[in-house]
């Protein structure tokens, strides 16, 4: 299964969460988001869980890759 990827690196909150919110509206099956700070990681994780997604977080060098899936 292929998921669309959102690159939210460099963005400060709430932008990464807003980008994720807009993206899942068009991709209800799920989305991947790349962020580069822990605040964005935690906020998107919370948003994903509140919206009924399973959220997986993987570290990739300095970044975090979050996978939101139904």
């Amino acid at each position: 299964m292929k998921l669309n990827i959102i690159d939210a690196r460099g963005r400060s909150c709430p932008e990464p969460v807003l980008m994720t919110k807009k993206a899942v509206e068009g991709n209800p099956q799920g989305i991947q988001v790349i962020v580069d700070n822990t605040t964005a990681r935690d906020n998107i994780t919370r948003f994903g869980k509140n919206s009924g997604f399973n959220v997986e977080v993987a570290s990739k060098e300095e970044d975090f890759v979050l996978t939101l899936k139904k």
Binding site: L3, I5, R11, Q32
Partner: protein, 361 residues
Amino acid sequence: MKEKRGIILTGAVVGIISIMLVKFGNPVNMGYCIACFLRDIAGGLGLHRAGVVQYIRPEIIGLVLGAFIMSFASKEYKARGGSSPFLRFVLGFIVMIGALMFLGCPLRMILRMAGGDLNALIGLVGFAAGIGIGILFLNRGFSLKRTYNQSSFEGFVFPAVMVGLLVLLLAKPAFILFSQEGPGSKFAPWALALAAGLIVGAMAQKTRLCMVGGIRDLILFKDTYLISGFVSIFVFALIGNLLVTKTFNLGMADQPIAHMDALWNFLGMALAGWGCVLLGGCPLRQLILAGEGNIDSVITVLGMIAGAAFAHNFSLASSAKGPTPNGQVAVIIGFIILLAISFFSSEKAAVKMKGDVKLEA
């Protein structure tokens, strides 16, 4: 509920320490006030000459250093910057003009409400309205653009400046000004105030406590995480005001360091709320971010200090007697500038997607 434990505890600590700081000398309903304290620091450094609000507040120094130490220990410290620095300076400046119209930052607004000051309730309505306007622009794609990594050293400079301020406070050279009367002359012992800053700075760094974020996330995402900290501060400060300092006084008249002009309390906080949403955090949050290496927040804090200096040099700040005509003009100009910044910094297509990329499971 479990994930909110930390932020509720942080709110409780902020509420309780606020009461303690008042008990040990800070002005009433001003255990913490980021706007007031930055204004006092501007005065202490002689950037303005309002004799009643000059003091280098150790709480501010502690907040930044507490956040710095905590972020370093938890490996979250990261120097970054370059996200519309001058716009952030201007926004910080305007937030300060709004806060000094109302007489307090969003954190002091909560502490004022917890002291029974109903003028602050009107401030809260204005604050929420301002946040609502800001959210309209966020949804329209408002962005201050991305940050970039900076050298670690750059992030050390602001905490180092804070250490320098502490040295000035303790050494008391002749060029540092200290209020002989008024709010600036009321302060808790420096070591206590510094510790109060360090503890809250560390906890707020960990939990991302933010006054504007609470209302924003509630409206935008129906997320109650940050607002729990907000409510917790209120509850614990209220209990403290009732039982410890016994300064609880319900009403609008005779409130400490406050005025009763409802319209301008509303507009002042609306301006601050709108500006803070665009900045992505309240003045407290900006200090915390500045401590963890965010140079954009350092610039925002400098904007706030410049705004405070201007506010007192040009009679923009309110007093217990009420707002000044200059201040009213400044707030209106502030709204016009915020509208321009909100309008011209919107990206039509904020979300760029790359399709058909393999999922790395």
